[in-house]
């Protein structure tokens, strides 16, 4: 038998599903929401609903966006013939921080990971291959994480993408090996971009 009224138990159970939230934190958050104003609670509920209703994947690059194509793909000031491939949408922010990259992106939503049973067929690359196939790209920069999985993904992609006239480069290991692009500092990110190499 739960110690809380049913709507409260439901909210706690939903919050517990969030990463890093245990029973204690879920209860604390639930009581905070209960005590907040109706307007605040509504705003939270709306924000949660909107994030699912209004966001989707960009049909060109798989970035998470509310407009299709996304702001990077529809930008006329960015070089659309230069495409940077990243594992996660959050990696884009890390690269944007350098303010030195003015190309477009492609988001894989993951990497090859044999231990988790993820092979190349699970990578979202069909739209990238289409972009390359139709001659819209001069250079692909592979900016997957400098981990075993990220490297395996980059090496695999370089094999798939290789064609005459297309340059395929890999960011340099300016980033500490084994880390995550999300946590790289700006200068490391900038160095990695400058030192990219061809595969």
């Amino acid at each position: 038998m739960s110690r809380f009224a049913e709507p409260m138990t439901r909210l706690i159970d939903e919050l517990k599903k969030l990463p890093g939230i245990g029973s204690k934190s879920a209860q604390r958050l639930a009581f905070h929401i209960l005590r907040s104003t109706d307007a605040d609670a509504e705003a939270l509920a709306d924000a949660v609903r909107d994030v699912k209703a209004k966001l989707r994947l960009c049909s060109v690059c798989n970035n998470i966006t509310d407009v299709d194509p996304c702001i990077y793909c529809s930008s006329t000031t960015r070089n659309q013939r230069l495409v940077c491939v990243v594992e996660e949408p959050t990696n884009i922010a890390a690269i944007e921080k350098t303010r030195h990259f003015h190309g477009a992106y492609h988001v894989l939503h993951g990497s090859i990971s044999p231990l988790r049973g993820v092979g190349p067929e699970e990578l979202r690359i069909s739209n990238l291959l289409r972009r390359v196939e139709s001659g819209q790209v001069d250079e692909i920069i592979l900016a997957t994480n400098p981990t075993v999985d990220g490297e395996a993904t980059a090496v695999y992609l370089s094999g798939q993408l290789k064609r005459p006239g297309l340059k395929v480069t890999r960011i340099a290991m300016g980033i500490p090996v084994g880390s995550d692009i999300e946590y790289a500092d700006e200068i490391t990110m900038l160095k990695a971009m400058e030192g990219r190499r061809e595969l």
């Binding site: 990463p19 890093g20 090859i112 990971s113 044999p114 231990l115 988790r116 049973g117 092979g119 190349p120 400098p146 981990t147 075993v148 999985d149 490297e151 395996a152 090496v155 695999y156 500490p176 090996v177 084994g178 880390s179 995550d180 946590y183």
Partner: protein
């Protein structure tokens, strides 16, 4: 408690809470150990690439009173799998080694023979040609963990199989002669059986001069994987992925 120091091979990491990693590592000192690397996910300063699967490290860790998980203090890289190109077949083969060790090694039980086997196989697993090292590792690991049946005689009648055909089956604990084989058995070639015998007599380096096609000893690998899967009572994720590699 005092800080322990041991050579170790990182097997696998899992995210734990916001910034920590749960790390399974195979120490020379006391076998497989599970521990927490604090802040490893966020701050890469202490661990860098040292926690990538199959990195050979010197690990410093500290057991805590009444706690199942050790605290992994730091790791110095001795040899990183990232030193060589990570082709897809190599990534899967490395994953296979990590998965097998993770599944088969008991916790806190030193096994120097398996440790040395792993180091020598990792050294030959530097290129895209993975079939020889994978076969050697599976064969020796099956033997060293005590799961390898006698390959020279039929498990049903006990007759010697030398010179005769031999068969295996997912539910049988060894090889069978043509009279005793079960329905839907697969055959293990005499080539593969003699290769296994050679592998028991020589170090892995002595086989690395020749390039193996995937087909070579694939019957032996299938038999070994079936044997191991029967003992751990689950399917090996990486065995299925190796199977799907085209060459």
């Amino acid at each position: 408690m005092p800080l322990k120091e041991s050579e170790a091979i990182i097997l696998r990491t899992y995210p734990l809470r916001e910034a920590d990693l749960l790390v399974t590592f195979f120490t020379r000192l006391e076998g497989k150990v599970r521990g927490v690397a604090r802040s490893a996910k966020k701050s890469k300063r202490r661990f860098g690439g040292a926690l990538e699967p199959l990195t050979y490290v010197r690990a410093y860790y500290e057991d805590r009173e009444g706690q199942e998980l050790t605290r992994l203090d730091s790791c110095d890289v001795i040899e990183s799998p990232l030193a060589n190109e990570v082709s897809y077949p190599r990534a899967v083969a490395l994953g296979h080694v990590a998965e097998l060790l993770g599944e088969l090694l008991p916790e806190r039980e030193a096994n120097d023979a398996v440790f040395r086997l792993t180091l020598s196989v990792l050294a030959t697993l530097s290129g895209a040609n993975v079939w020889m090292p994978v076969t050697y590792f599976e064969l020796w690991l099956t033997r060293l963990t005590g799961f390898l049946p006698e390959l020279s005689e039929c498990i049903v009648c006990g007759e010697a199989l030398n010179g005769s055909r031999a068969f295996f089956h997912a539910l049988a604990d060894g090889l069978m002669c043509p009279e005793d084989k079960r329905l839907a058995s697969a055959e293990m070639s005499s080539d593969s059986r003699s290769l296994a015998a050679q592998m028991f007599r020589a170090p892995v380096e002595s086989f690395s001069s020749t390039t193996w096609a995937k087909a070579r000893a694939s019957d032996l690998r299938k038999f070994l994987v079936q044997t191991l899967e029967r003992h751990i009572e689950k399917k090996l994720v990486t065995a299925a992925m190796l199977e799907k590699i085209s060459s």
